[in-house]
Each structure stands twice: as C-alpha cells, then as structure tokens.
C-alpha cells in the first residue's frame, strides 16, 4: 500500500504537467453557498417557506409521480386511517408477519394494534440494550423472514417519488429491504420538491449536529432489473411491491 503522502504527491506531480497546480483552491470556484451553519440555515429556511407555500400542489404532484414510479398509493386521510390502511394491505397480500421501524409516525399511527386485530404479528426492529448482540441477531432473522416491512420516511421527494430514510437507533436498514413488500407512511411535512431540497434541509441539520448520518437509503421504486433481454422484472433482491400510505 502506498502512503497517503506518496499517492497525493504523484497526483500533484501529474497536475503540474497541466495548467492546474493542484493544492487547495485559492478561490471558491465554482460559486456556492458558503459552508457555514448560518448560511445553510438561511437556505433551509427559504426552502421550507417555498415548500409550505406550495404544499397542496406538491402533495398532488407526489401522488402522481409515485404512481408513475410504480408505488401503490393509498391516501389515508388520518394517522388512524393510515394504520387501518396498513392492516388492509397486509390482509390483501396475505402477509403473516411484519416488521416495523421506530419512526415517529408510529406514535401517531397505531399500526401494531391494527395489525393485531387482523391477526398479524408485528415486530419492532429495535435491539434490547441489555443484550445488544443477541437481540440484533434475532431481529435480523425477523427482518429476513418477514412478509412485510413498514417504515416512516425522513424526506419524500415529489419530483422523483423518492423516500429518504436515515438509518439510526430504531431504524433498521433492513426493514425496507429484505421483506418482499415495503409500506412507507408519509406525512405532509416530509414532502419536499426536489432531491436538492432534501439535501439542503439535511445539510443544515448536520452542519449543526456534526454527523451527516452513517447510512441514507433513497428508495424510488420497487427493486427491479432489466438484465435479461432488457425485460423488466421486479423484486429481484429488494421488495417487489412498494406502498406509499399518504397521511393526508
């Protein structure tokens, strides 16, 4: 293995043959928002204001685009309605087991109760702090075997119907990946117009808190492949069906 210094010295040497000289850029080029917390907080504030002003329109755009991207969209009206919608989907697809994350939306939408009344057990993918290793293994097994994965989202991009989920304590990477069906509950405040909006809001946050987050999943459609004769097949490694339950 080459040392960092030797590697970079060689890059610098190569650059010296062309016009560029390497090293730190003298000027901010190309222009951008300065990398300070106040600048990004201001930017995020502007984004939020714009989103608020066009919310109704955004929600409609999202529903339309989600349909085009092969989400199955269910408009639930209220959090209670969302929980019932989840149970209904579970019954329709004949799911016998479900896992969910600890997204805040579940404090409002009693998904577990609704599923229990339908006779479907739902496991929360959050490890036991007393026995992290053992319980992590068990939960991983549950996630792999579950018929249904239910999550909230942190942002939802209207332009491309992209759900953005930050993995963290209580939000497993697997809940939206290993089960053959994924249901995402989306609330109006999470809807943004473009990916750039989501990145701006998130940046304002991590410039403040420090951590950009270890793992962000952007999910825009069912798992798909066109690798055999360019014929689209869904559900090759991830979910074959994705549901967007709109809490509005």
């Amino acid at each position: 293995m080459t040392s960092r210094e030797a590697f970079l010295a060689q890059v610098r040497y190569a650059l010296r043959q062309t016009r560029g000289k390497g090293h730190a850029p003298a000027a901010e080029d190309p222009p951008r928002i300065p990398n300070t917390l106040p600048a990004w907080q201001l930017e995020a504030e502007q984004v939020r204001r714009r989103l608020l002003a066009q919310r109704e329109d955004l929600l409609l755009r999202l529903e339309r685009m989600a349909g085009l991207m092969n989400w199955k969209v269910v408009r639930a009206g209220t959090p209670q309605g969302a929980a019932e919608a989840v149970a209904q989907i579970a019954q329709q697809v004949g799911a016998r087991s479900a896992v969910r994350t600890a997204h805040p939306v579940f404090a409002r939408a009693p998904v577990e109760d609704a599923l229990r009344s339908a006779g479907i057990p739902c496991i929360l993918l959050a490890y036991d702090a007393h026995d992290p290793q053992e319980s992590r293994l068990r939960l991983r097994q549950s996630a792999i075997q579950a018929h249904l994965g239910i999550t909230g989202v942190d942002y939802m991009v209207a332009e491309t119907a992209t759900a953005i989920l930050l993995a963290r304590r209580g939000v497993s990477r697997l809940a939206s990946l290993t089960p053959p069906r994924h249901i995402a509950l989306v609330e109006p405040e999470q809807v943004v117009e473009t990916l750039a909006d989501a990145l701006t809001l998130h940046k304002a946050q991590f410039l403040e808190g420090g951590d950009p987050g270890g793992y962000l999943s952007l999910i825009s459609a069912p798992s798909r492949t066109g690798d055999i004769e360019q014929t689209i097949v869904v559900g090759v490694h991830g979910p074959q069906e994705v549901y967007l339950v709109a809490v509005w």
């Binding site: 293995m1 590697f7 060689q10 040497y13 390497g22 990398n35 993995a167 459609a221 055999i228 490694h237």
Partner: protein, 479 residues
C-alpha cells in the same frame, strides 16, 4: 489486472458482426436511447443543459484540485471511523482487500457491480486465494457464471438470450430449465439471498464520493448494493480516484444526470449514501468500513492536457448507446473493461497505447457521443489526438499512412471549427449521392474500403444534426 485483449479488436469485432443474437440485442439498445430522450423532455432541455453545465464546472474544478479533495475525502472517512487505502496499482488494491479478508477470516464475499473491481480483476484474485466472491447484480452474476466479461457498462449481460441464461443456471446451479424471464430472475434471487445472509464481507463500487462529508453514493436498481452494505460485517468500497466531488449538495446535480442519461430513468430504484461504518447504536450494518482509492494509470490522463477531461466520466454508458460503431461490434470487441467511445480513450491510457492501437480508430467521429454525454466530454477530439499520436508516435505505435495523417489534420480542423464542419457536411452530402443505396452506403472507394468491407458507412444526414438539434432545443418542453 484483468487480461487485456485489446489487440484483437478486429477479430472480435468480426465475430460480433456475424452473431445474429448479439446484433439483435445491440438493436435493442435504441430503447435506452428513446427512454433518455423522453426523460430529457420531461425535465426540460433548459434545465438539462444547466445541469450539464454545472456538472462540467464541478468536475473541471475538482480534477484541477484533485489532491486537495482526495485528502479532504480521506480525512472525513477516517473521522467517521472508516479506513482508507491509497492504491497506486490494481495489485496494491487487490492485496489490501485480500489482507482485510484474511484478517476477518472471510470465506464468502458479496459484490455489487463495480467497473473498477472488474479493472482490477479482483474476483479472480480472491478466488485464487480461496475466497468465494459472488457478483450480485443479476447481469454481473450471469457474466460470472459464464466466465465472461461485461458487454455493456450498465447492461453487462445484454448479449445473452434467456435460453442461454437458462442453460447457464441449469448447468451451474442445477436449476430447472425454464425460459420465463421472471422465473429466471427468481432463481437468481433465491440463490443470491442465501449468499447475502451468509457473507462476511461486502464489496461495492462508488458512483460519487463527497469530499466534505466522506460520503460515498451507490446507485442500483436491484437492491443488491443495499444488501452488500447492510448485511455483512465488513464493507469495502472501491473507487477510481476521479470519483470524488467536493460537496454534499453536488450529489443532486450528478444524480439528476446519471440515470437519465444512462437508461432514461428519473432516478434509479435505490441510491445509498454511506458515511463510515454503522454508528455504534445503530440497529444493523457493517462494523468496519474501508475505502480503496485507486489510481492504476489514471494519472496518465490527469497529466495530459488533451485527455484530462476523460476523468469527468460518470460511466453512464450513454456514449455507448449512441455510438454507431459500438452499436455494431458490441462491448467485447474492445477487449478490456471499458468499451465504447469513452473506453477507446480510457483503455489505451490505462493499458498502454501500443496494446490498444485499434481502439482510437473504432469510431466514425460522428460526434454523437459528445452530444449525448452528460458531461459534454469531447470524445471525438480525444480520439483524434490519440490517432495523431499513433500516426506520429514511436515506431511501434505507428499505424496511419501519410494520407491518413493528412486526413486527420483535416478532421481536427473541422471538428474545431464549426463553420467549416457545417460546410464540409453539406459538401459530403452532395458527394455521397452516387454511392447511396437504400439510404446506406454499401461501398466506399479506396482507401476507405477497409471500413465498408464489413459494414455500411452511415451516410451524412441530409439535414445536419446541428440543425436538427437547434430545432429540437427551440421546441423543447419546459415544464
């Protein structure tokens, strides 16, 4: 490094030209092309052009200060608990991966699609060392079972029929012989699911690496990239050193371009942003994260003012889909990992120009690659520069005749001077009339007959592309 067969271009090209199924699948590429046009119409040409401009600016800036941004990237990766390997050669990178695998007693590795690991011949090296490494992208999996190499950057198995895939699965996996495509995908899903669960290590490529946060972005449709970064204990990501971009917000620019140019998708089913290993209180994810930053000859592009912009490439494959030569000879003829117009520049610089003499000539210089390239990389100009070097260079590199040298000078002049290009096009359109048969040119007079011996020469369009483009952009939708 993976075996180099670039010197066999003519032979392999002939073979592809005679293969009916390959010709058929190549025709199917036009589907990508149409999807791309649709995607551009949807976001509006004005916005598309602005994105291209921005992306090009960012890349030009980053490459000019590559040392600075690579150092920043590494610092951030380490800050979040990741480890960085600086690899000047493929061999160094391979050794590092092997070392990490040994340290963890790894027996099974799951890999998601990565051109760079293809370039390193990594799977082969691991297998020699007794570590099983399974490709998990369906196309790559098929290619691995068939012991071939990818045919297309983003559609590696596009040259295989479903019957061939069925045979392969029956032979290698003992699967039932079915030729229903969803059933075939199902077989792969089950076989690979087992591997995902058992694997100790995941290896992925990197589409973009953000210097300011140490984040890598991985773009997939199948979800195998997510599996490789969620299930095993260790994750190693491998990137060519040109993949770095400065800022978090730059991701929006490049992601907007990549899949639209590649397959016409608004965005791929999945994009994953990984910053270091899992946080200690996270539910799951790898305990170790390694980032391998690979040079492997890229510095030869970096130090070359004429060819440097080849490093802007985001491997979308649009230039392959647009190229009339690729559209005929397919990916294997190019003899190495990177096919098509961009491959004809990158390959000679990475494996050595003398070994890849034919590649800079595997182009009609029609300019379609540059038109579709999201980074507007001037591929025709670079191909000409390489031809010039071959024509004038050291004796073992010499290929062109005196006539060819003169012609090339002319071409260079035309490509650089739009007014002359337009004029020459109109003259050519008149001159070719006596040669046209059913809208194709089946025969060219010597010394050009080397070209038409195995294919028709595409006639010069009666209305030049530049004129058509102007009408197109004027009439473009901006919603």
């Amino acid at each position: 490094m993976v075996e180099v067969l670039t010197h066999q271009f003519q032979k392999s090209a002939q073979k592809a030209l005679r293969d009916a199924f390959v010709q058929n699948s190549l025709r199917r590429l036009s589907h990508f092309h149409e999807a791309r046009a649709q995607a551009l119409a949807e976001i509006g040409l004005e916005r598309w052009e602005a994105l291209r401009e921005r992306a090009r600016q960012i890349k030009a800036h980053t490459i000019q200060h590559l040392d600075h941004y690579l150092a920043m990237l590494a610092e951030q990766v380490e800050k979040w608990g990741g480890k960085v390997c600086w690899a000047r050669t493929a061999q160094e990178a391979n050794e590092y991966v092997l070392q990490v695998a040994r340290r963890h007693g790894v027996r099974l590795i799951i890999k998601s699609k990565s051109m760079v690991s293809e370039e390193m011949g990594l799977t082969h090296v691991l297998e020699e060392a007794g570590v099983e490494a399974v490709e998990t992208d369906l196309g790559e999996y098929i290619i691995q079972l068939a012991r071939e190499r990818p045919f297309h950057i983003i559609a590696p198995a596009i040259h295989k029929s479903k019957e061939q895939v069925a045979d392969l699965f029956a032979q290698r996996l003992g699967a039932e012989p079915v030729t229903d495509i969803p059933a075939l995908a199902g077989i792969a899903r089950r076989a690979l699911r087992e591997k995902f669960v058992q694997a100790d290590m995941g290896i992925t490529g990197v589409n973009f690496a953000v210097a300011e946060t140490g984040t890598i972005a991985i773009v997939t449709n199948e979800g195998n990239g997510r599996m490789c970064t969620s299930m095993p204990r260790v994750h190693i990501a491998i990137m060519g050193m040109e993949k770095v971009i400065p800022r978090w917000e730059d991701l929006a620019v490049f992601l907007a371009l990549l899949t639209r140019a590649a397959t016409g998708q608004r965005i791929s089913s999945y994009v994953t942003f990984v910053t270091g290993p899992r946080r200690s209180d996270e539910e799951d994810g790898p305990e170790e994260f390694h980032l391998v930053i690979l040079d492997n000859g890229r510095r030869r592009l970096l130090e070359d003012p004429e060819l440097q912009e080849a490093l802007y490439c985001i491997r979308c494959g649009a230039c392959l889909n647009a190229c009339p030569v690729y559209g005929k000879v397919g990916g294997h003829a190019y003899g190495w990992v990177y096919p098509g117009p961009i491959g004809s520049i990158v390959t000679p610089m990475l494996v050595g120009l003398p070994k890849a003499k034919d590649l800079p000539y595997a182009s009609s210089l029609c300019g379609a690659c540059r038109e579709v390239c999201p980074l507007r990389i001037n591929i025709p100009h670079m191909l000409l520069a390489l031809r010039q070097r071959l024509a004038e260079g050291a004796p073992q590199e010499r290929k062109g005749s005196l006539l060819e040298k003169a012609l090339m000078r002319g071409w260079l002049f035309l490509v650089e001077h739009p007014w002359a290009f337009g004029l020459a096009g109109r003259v050519a359109s008149l001159l070719q009339r006596p040669l046209m048969r059913n809208g194709r040119i089946p025969w060219l007079p010597p010394p050009f007959n080397g070209w038409t011996r195995s294919r028709d020469f595409p006639p010069v369009a009666s209305r030049p592309f530049r004129a058509r483009w102007k009408t197109l952009t004027r009439g473009g939708t901006h919603d």
